[in-house]
Structures are given as structure tokens and as C-alpha cells.
């Protein structure tokens, strides 16, 4: 019971981190597009890749939480 709760807290913390990270990426991308609308496509592609990297880190934590739970 306790282990499960701690794992859930860990997953939640990871989600917070990933949220901040993806938020920063989104902000950067939108600012970039606002300044240079003609580069929008390139910026969007790079944004998605960067977001995937950040998301992966959060998923590492989810995996650790799952393993700790099981």
C-alpha cells in the first residue's frame, strides 16, 4: 500500500517535471514562430522532437515507478 502510494507520488513528480519542460519548449517555439513566421514548419518539427525527448525522461520515471510498484 505504502509502496504503491510512493510510486504514484514519484510518477506525479515526473509528470510535473515533464510539464514544465514541455511548457518551456512550447513557449520557445511559439515565441520563435511569432518572431519568424516563415520558419514555422522547421520550428514545429524541432519542437515535437524536443518534446519527445522531455517526455521520454518522464516515462523513464513512470517505468521506475511501475517496477517499484510491482
Amino acid at each position: 500500500m505504502v509502496v504503491g502510494s510512493v510510486a504514484a507520488i514519484g510518477a506525479g513528480l515526473a509528470a510535473i517535471g515533464a510539464g514544465i519542460g514541455i511548457g518551456q519548449i512550447g513557449r520557445g517555439a511559439v515565441e520563435g514562430i511569432a518572431r519568424q513566421p516563415e520558419a514555422a514548419n522547421e520550428i514545429r518539427a524541432n519542437m515535437i522532437v524536443a518534446a519527445a525527448f522531455v517526455e521520454a525522461v518522464a516515462l523513464f520515471a513512470v517505468v521506475v515507478a511501475l517496477l517499484g510498484n510491482g
Binding site: 522532437v49 519527445a52 525527448f53 517526455e55 521520454a56 523513464f60 513512470v62 517505468v63 510498484n69 510491482g70
Partner: protein, 421 residues
């Protein structure tokens, strides 16, 4: 229209009066085109929603009505949650974690529909030789786990085949001698994806053999060509360099198409797909080991120099950096392995837990929320499936590029001279 940009403000306004009738026409045409596209995509989305809603209600009724042939056809995502209904019926309480993990892990049988599943062959090598039998033998007539009597007594314990004695206790010593080469769900799914890849790629390749590279691509060829060119122009050339990329293209394309096919097959909820192949750590580890071998075998002298004796640094810094860089050699493929595994597994868990909501609330109406969400996540997973294949390939190319890069030693020498002064 373009000329308008170069006309001064006042003149522009007066000209705008002349052009006025044209602008709305142009805008109207534009809007019609746009709205057609919008309606088309809306139609597709709403149709798929209706199809999914219909299939949920038929599935939910299945606990009362026996499955008929018409039910078999309509089971998209919901099909995976079907055995969950069994668990709920048998145990009275519904265990979400167990149900989800059961769908994610590898298995000896492949669930088709209702009570029908495909029993895959078990291939065992023991001290008494090779043995092949159907995994059906592990189940008795009540679908309970049982002991199969072959050369030894076999039983599946926590997903692994073990040798047991008559009382059903694991014989640890004998089990160590057991080699399991079974065609499991993941292996069968891997065979299917290899078959698909061979058909698609060999067809495209033979078309090139027949018509050459100069003529316009036809059929399947025109579908594959942009993808191959994407890997070459967006992944290989920017990361490895125009000079050396050709040597690594076969490897990168193999990785890309293998990961992509398995990711997409994993998203198909019914029979030929649905196995969690690229969400299996053994599969991703094999790919990562391949990347590790290719990177380190193609590494040049300057790459190893940068790892063990970083140029342009003070000797104490060099000593400090060497172990860190050495660990980096291993963590790169390990991060590749975990990234793909975690992304695909998390996607499967997400979709399954959304579908499980229906069984947690024990009402069909929960599907009104769960199914649209599952469709939404499923669409995101389509993006992730492609993105992860792309990222795996791109990072492999980047590591190869780092290992084969030719450094300009003049820069370091200039650095050293500055340090000496």
C-alpha cells in the same frame, strides 16, 4: 496581387477600391476549399466515433449474449479489454494493474476473439533433447494452468516455463538446464512484421531494378521513396555527413523500418497486431546492442582519443573526464533502449487503462468518456510511433556521426600553444 506590396500607402488604398470585387471572390473560393477539407475530416472523425460507440455497446452486452459472427468484426481498441470482462466475472472484483500487465507482457497464446485464441508452439531444449508441443497443453479443460508431461514435467510459473516435480514444486537445478526457444506472441508478431517489410521493400526494390532510378516511381515505390529519402536527407546526411552516410544507410533504414512497423503493428488492437513488441525490453536491447556494435566498430582514432585522453585539457582534467566519457559510451545505447521501451509501453498502458475505466465504473456510459479519450490517445500514439522510430534512427545516426567525425587538429594545437604561454 504581388504588385500591391510595392505600391505606396495612399495609392494602395485607391487601388484596393478597384481590386475590391476580386478579393471576395478569391476569399470565397479559398473558404470553400477549406470548409470542404474541414467537413471531410470531421466526417471521418465522427464516423469513427460512431463505429467505436457501436462496438463498445456490443462488447458490453457480450456478458449476456454469446458472441456471434457479426460481433467478431467490430472490435477495435475494445477487443483488448475483452478478457478483462472474464477476470471481472470470475473474481468478482476487477484488478486493473493485473489486467493491463497481462496485455502488455509476452504470452504463449494469442487472443483472437471471444474465447478463441491462437495457441503458439512451445520449443524447449533440455538435457533430453529438443521438444516441440502446443502451448494448449499448459491449460486444462477449465482454462486453468496445468502441468504438461513431456520429457520432463513442465509448468508455466510467472510467465516462464519451468521443470516441476510431481507435486508441482519447481526443480531449480533442472530448470537451469532448460532452454526456451518458444514462438511466443512477440516472436510471432516479429515474424509478421518481417514478412510485411520483406513484401513491401522487395516489391519497391524490384521496381527500381526494372525501371531504374531515373524514371518516375510507380505504386508502392512512390510510397516508399519519400520515406527512404526522408531518412537519407533528414537523418543520415545532417548527422553523419554527405561523404560517409552511404555506408550506414542500410543499417539506419533497417532500424527505422523495423521500429516503425512494430510500433504501428502494436497499435492495431486485433489479431495480426496488438503484441507489444517494441515495448519489450529484450527487443529494444537487441537494437541498442546493434547500434553499440556499429558505433564502436566504426569509431576512428580521434573518437577514442576524445574519450580516454581529451585533447586540449589539463592532465588532471583528462584523468577526471576519462571515466565519465567511458560511461557515456555505454549510457548512449542504454538510453536508446529505455526510451523506445518506455514510450511504447506507456502508450499501451494509457490506452488500456482508459478502456479499463469502463470496467472500473461497471457501466456502459463510462465508455462515452473512455472511448473518445482512448481514440485521442490512440491518435497521439500514432504520432509517437513514428516519432520514436525517427528519434531512434536519428540518435543512432548522431552517435555514428560522432564516432566517425574527422576533427581539425589545428584547433587543438592552437589551444595547446595558448596553454603553454
Amino acid at each position: 496581387m504581388f504588385n500591391l506590396y510595392f505600391i505606396p500607402q495612399e495609392e494602395f488604398c485607391s487601388k484596393l477600391g478597384y481590386f475590391n470585387p476580386f478579393i471576395p471572390i478569391f476569399a470565397a473560393n479559398f473558404e470553400i476549399g477549406m470548409s470542404f477539407r474541414r467537413i471531410k475530416s470531421l466526417l471521418v472523425v465522427s464516423l469513427s466515433f460512431v463505429a467505436l460507440l457501436v462496438s463498445t455497446s456490443t462488447k458490453a452486452n457480450e456478458s449476456v449474449v454469446l458472441p456471434t459472427d457479426s460481433n467478431k468484426v467490430k472490435q477495435p481498441i475494445v477487443a483488448e479489454a475483452e478478457p478483462a470482462a472474464h477476470a471481472a466475472k470470475e473474481e468478482g472484483s476487477f484488478n486493473v494493474t493485473e489486467t493491463i500487465l497481462e496485455h502488455i507482457k509476452d504470452d504463449h497464446s494469442w487472443h483472437l476473439w471471444g474465447h478463441t485464441s491462437l495457441h503458439l508452439p512451445v520449443i524447449l531444449y533440455t538435457s533430453k533433447g529438443l521438444e516441440v508441443f502446443s502451448s494448449k497443453n499448459f491449460l486444462d479443460e477449465h482454462h486453468e494452468q496445468t502441468i504438461y508431461k513431456g520429457n520432463f514435467d513442465y509448468k508455466i510459473i510467472e510467465g516462464k516455463t519451468k521443470i516441476v516435480d510431481a507435486a508441482g514444486v519447481v526443480d531449480v537445478q533442472a530448470s537451469k538446464q532448460l532452454w526456451d526457444f518458444s514462438i511466443t506472441k512477440n516472436v510471432a508478431s516479429l515474424f509478421i512484421s518481417v514478412f510485411i517489410l520483406l513484401v513491401v521493400l522487395l516489391t519497391a526494390a524490384s521496381a527500381y531494378k526494372k525501371t531504374g532510378v531515373k524514371s518516375a516511381p510507380k505504386g508502392l515505390q512512390s510510397f516508399m521513396e519519400p520515406i527512404v529519402l526522408f531518412v537519407r536527407d533528414e537523418v543520415a546526411i545532417p548527422n553523419i555527413g554527405a561523404k560517409r552516410h552511404a555506408k550506414y544507410m542500410p543499417f539506419l533504414l533497417t532500424i527505422f523500418f523495423l521500429v516503425l512497423t512494430n510500433n504501428f503493428l502494436g497499435l492495431v488492437p486485433f489479431f495480426p497486431g496488438g503484441a507489444n513488441v517494441s515495448g519489450n525490453i529484450a527487443f529494444t536491447m537487441t537494437l541498442a546492442v546493434c547500434v553499440f556494435i556499429v558505433v564502436n566498430l566504426s569509431a576512428n582514432k580521434s573518437y577514442w582519443e576524445h574519450i580516454f585522453w581529451m585533447p586540449g585539457m589539463h592532465w588532471s582534467m583528462k584523468l577526471f573526464l576519462a571515466p565519465i566519457e567511458l560511461i557515456g559510451v555505454f549510457t548512449k545505447p542504454i538510453s536508446l533502449m529505455i526510451r523506445l521501451f518506455a514510450n511504447i509501453t506507456a502508450g499501451h498502458i494509457l490506452v488500456l487503462s482508459l478502456i479499463c475505466l469502463i470496467f472500473i465504473f461497471k457501466t456502459v456510459f463510462a465508455s462515452a468518456i473512455a472511448v473518445p479519450f482512448a481514440v485521442f490517445i490512440g491518435l497521439i500514439e500514432l504520432l509517437v510511433a513514428f516519432l520514436q522510430a525517427y528519434i531512434f534512427t536519428m540518435l543512432s545516426a548522431m552517435y555514428i556521426g560522432m564516432a566517425t567525425e574527422e576533427h581539425h587538429h589545428e584547433a587543438h594545437e592552437a589551444h595547446k600553444e595558448v596553454a603553454h604561454h
